[in-house]
C-alpha cells in the first residue's frame, strides 16, 4: 500500500453535479468516486464518452467545484478553496487539453504563451526568461524559431508539444492529459506519446491520462481506472486490469480490442444506464435481482486491484 507521504492526490467520495439540460434537477457527472494518485505515477482513466472522466480530472484541478466529498493535494484539503487560495497550488497541477488549437490564446505568440507561467511564478530578467523558453521548447523537440509564431501557424502535433512545454514551465507535480493525443494524426501521435513518456520519466511528474483509447492507456499507464457513468467500476495495475479484468463492463470494453466480429455485442449498449443500484446492471450479463438494491463499492480483489461488483471477487 502506498505510504501517506507518497500520495499526491487523494479523492474521496467525490460528487460533481451539473444542472440537467432540461432544467429539472441535477445530474451527477461524477458520482461518489474515490481514487489515489501517488507521486510520479501514471494513472489512466478510461471509459466511454460521457462517463465523467474529464469532469473528474477537471474537478481534481478544481476547474469545477465538487458537490460533495473531499479532494486532497499533498495532504492539503483543496475541496473548497477559493480561486485566490488555489493559485499557489495551481502551479503544481497542469493540464494538456484535447484540442491543441483552442488551448492557446489565438492572439499570443507561442514564445509568450510559454513565458507567461515563468513570469508569473519565477520572475527574472527578460533575457533569462527568453533562454528558459528556448530551453523548454527544445525539451519538447521544437526549435527556437517557433517562439515567434502564432498558434494558428502551427500544426496540431507542434501545438501539443508547446502545451507540454507550457505545463512543464512551472515544474508541476501533476499533469492531467485529457485525450491529449486523440485529435492528432496517427503518424504524429507516436511522437507525442513518446514525449509524454520521456517527460514523465525525466521529471517524475505524475500523469493522469484520460483516454477512450484502451491501447494508448495500456501503453502509457501504470494503473488504470475504468469509469462507467460517473462511477469508477474497476481500478488496478494496468497489467492486472488487462490480463484479468473483473468487472463485466471492463470485460466488454476489453473485448473490443480483439479483432473478432462484434456480433455478440448488440446487447451491450442500451442507451440508458440504470438509475439506482449498480448503474451497469441494465447491460450486465451477470446481473441479479439484488443489483438494483444497493450500489456496489470498490472491493479489493488483489493487492492493488479493486472492483465494484460483489459477484466477481473470486475468479
Amino acid at each position: 500500500m502506498a505510504e501517506q507521504s507518497q500520495t499526491l492526490i487523494e479523492v474521496s467520495r467525490l460528487v460533481v453535479s451539473f444542472a440537467q439540460s432540461g432544467g429539472s434537477g441535477m445530474f451527477h457527472a461524477v458520482d461518489d468516486v474515490s481514487l489515489k494518485v501517488a507521486r510520479g505515477e501514471v494513472v489512466g482513466l478510461v471509459g466511454e464518452s460521457g462517463s465523467g472522466k474529464t469532469t473528474l480530472a477537471k474537478t481534481i484541478l478544481r476547474l469545477y467545484k465538487p458537490a460533495a466529498g473531499t479532494l486532497q493535494f499533498e495532504g492539503c484539503d483543496i475541496t473548497r478553496l477559493g480561486e485566490k487560495a488555489l493559485r499557489p497550488i495551481r502551479r503544481q497541477m497542469q493540464m494538456v487539453f484535447q484540442d491543441p488549437l483552442s488551448s492557446f490564446n489565438p492572439r499570443v505568440r507561442i514564445g509568450d504563451a510559454v513565458a507567461l507561467p515563468l513570469r508569473l511564478h519565477k520572475p527574472g530578467p527578460a533575457h533569462q526568461i527568453q533562454s528558459k523558453v528556448q530551453d523548454l521548447l527544445s525539451r519538447v523537440g521544437l526549435g527556437p524559431q517557433f517562439a515567434a509564431r502564432y498558434p494558428h501557424e502551427m500544426s496540431g502535433g507542434q501545438l501539443q508539444r508547446v502545451a507540454v512545454a507550457r505545463a512543464l514551465a512551472v515544474e508541476p507535480r501533476l499533469i492531467v492529459a485529457d485525450e491529449a493525443v486523440s485529435k492528432l494524426d496517427v503518424s504524429v501521435r507516436a511522437q507525442i506519446l513518446n514525449l509524454l513518456r520521456d517527460v514523465q520519466s525525466a521529471t517524475g511528474v505524475a500523469l493522469l491520462f484520460i483516454t477512450h483509447d484502451l491501447r494508448v492507456a495500456r501503453y502509457l499507464c501504470d494503473r488504470i481506472g475504468v469509469m462507467f457513468f460517473g462511477r469508477l467500476v474497476e481500478v488496478g495495475a494496468t497489467a492486472d486490469v488487462f490480463s484479468n479484468p473483473r468487472h463485466p463492463y471492463t470485460r466488454a470494453l476489453l473485448s473490443t480490442l480483439d479483432d473478432d466480429d462484434g456480433g455478440g455485442l448488440a446487447a451491450l449498449a442500451p442507451p440508458a444506464p440504470a438509475s439506482s443500484g449498480c448503474r451497469y446492471r441494465s447491460r450486465c450479463p451477470i446481473a441479479r435481482s439484488d443489483c438494483a438494491a444497493h450500489r456496489p463499492e470498490l472491493q479489493a480483489v488483489g493487492d492493488t486491484h479493486t472492483v465494484a461488483c460483489p459477484y466477481v471477487l473470486s475468479d
Binding site: 502551479r91 493540464m95 484540442d99 490564446n105 494558428h152
Partner: protein
C-alpha cells in the same frame, strides 16, 4: 497599427469606410480652422445667401458660413458621441465580463438592470434622461453613455461566456493568473472584434442622438454649433434657405455611411483567422 491599416485597405468595404471616415474626421478636425470664417462670425450683408464660391454651403439667417458651422459643429457632435460611447464601453464591458465570469447572482442583477434599460427605444431613453438630468453638453454625454452601457455589457457578457469555456482560459486559470489578468488579457482581446464593430456603430448613432437632442433644444445650446443645433436653426427658415438643413443633413449622412462601412470591415478583419486568409 500599420498592419491593421494595411489589412483594412485590402477589404473593399473597409477601404471605403476608411476613406470616408478619414475625410470626415479630417474635415471636422482641421477643416474648421482652415476656413476663413469662425462659427460665430456674422455677416449682415450676406444673410441667407445660397451656396456659392465664397460660401460653399451658403449662409444662415445671421450670415454665418454654414460650411464652417457644419465642420465645427461636426467636431462638437462627434466629440460628444465618442465621449459618451467610450464612457459606456468603460462601464459596460467590465460589467459584462464580471457578469460572465462570476455568474449568479451578479449576472442576474446586472442583466436585469440591462433589460430594464433595454426596454425603451434608445432615443426615448435619452430624452427621458435629459428631462431628468437637465439640459447641457455633459448631460448629453451621460445620456448617450447610459443608452449604450447595457448594450456593451450584454455584448461583452455573451461573448465572454463562450470564450470562458475555451481551453486556453482554463489553462490560464491553472497557470495561476489573476482573475483581472484573465479577463483583461485572455478574454477581452478575443472578444474585441465584435465590440469594435458595436462601438463604431454606436458612435454613428451617438451622433444622431446628439443631433436629435440638440435639434429639440435639449442638448448643446446655441450659439455653440453642433449638428443638431445647426439643423434646428435650418429648419426655422427652411423656406427661405433650404440649403442649411439639407446640406447639414447630407453631411451627417456621409459620415454615418463611412462609420457603418468601417464597422462592417472591422468585423471581418479583426478576427485573426480571417486576417490570415486575407493577407496570405
Amino acid at each position: 497599427m500599420a498592419v491593421l491599416l494595411r489589412t483594412l485597405w485590402s477589404n473593399r468595404t473597409a477601404r471605403a469606410g476608411v476613406i470616408i471616415v478619414g475625410l470626415f474626421l479630417l474635415a471636422i478636425s482641421v477643416g474648421g480652422a482652415l476656413m476663413p470664417y469662425s462659427a460665430t462670425d456674422m455677416d449682415f450683408l450676406n444673410l441667407l445667401t445660397p451656396p456659392a464660391w465664397t460660401h460653399p454651403f451658403g449662409t444662415d439667417s445671421f450670415g454665418r458660413d454654414v460650411l464652417t458651422r457644419v465642420l465645427l459643429g461636426g467636431r462638437v457632435s462627434l466629440a460628444i458621441s465618442v465621449t459618451g460611447v467610450s464612457l459606456a464601453a468603460i462601464i459596460g464591458i467590465p460589467a459584462g465580463l464580471a457578469a460572465a465570469w462570476y455568474g449568479n447572482p451578479i449576472d442576474q442583477l446586472l442583466m436585469r438592470c440591462a433589460d430594464l434599460l433595454f426596454a425603451f427605444p434608445s432615443f426615448v431613453l435619452a430624452l427621458f434622461l435629459m428631462v431628468v438630468l437637465g439640459f447641457g453638453v455633459t448631460n448629453v454625454i451621460l445620456a448617450i453613455a447610459l443608452v449604450y452601457v447595457p448594450i456593451f455589457a450584454r455584448l461583452a457578457r455573451n461573448l465572454a461566456l463562450t470564450v470562458r469555456e475555451e481551453a486556453y482560459v482554463q489553462a490560464a486559470r491553472l497557470m495561476g493568473q489573476s482573475t483581472a489578468r484573465i479577463l483583461g488579457r485572455e478574454i477581452l482581446p478575443n472578444i474585441m472584434a465584435p465590440i469594435m464593430v458595436q462601438a463604431s456603430i454606436s458612435i454613428a448613432f451617438g451622433v444622431i442622438i446628439e443631433a436629435g437632442l440638440s435639434f429639440l433644444g435639449l442638448g448643446v445650446q446655441p450659439p455653440t454649433p453642433s449638428l443638431g443645433v445647426i439643423m434646428a436653426d435650418g429648419r426655422e427658415y427652411f423656406n427661405q434657405g433650404p440649403w442649411v438643413l439639407t446640406l447639414a443633413g447630407l453631411f451627417i449622412s456621409f459620415g454615418l455611411l463611412g462609420l457603418n462601412l468601417l464597422g462592417d470591415g472591422l468585423r471581418d478583419l479583426t478576427d485573426p483567422k480571417l486576417r490570415e486568409k486575407t493577407t496570405s
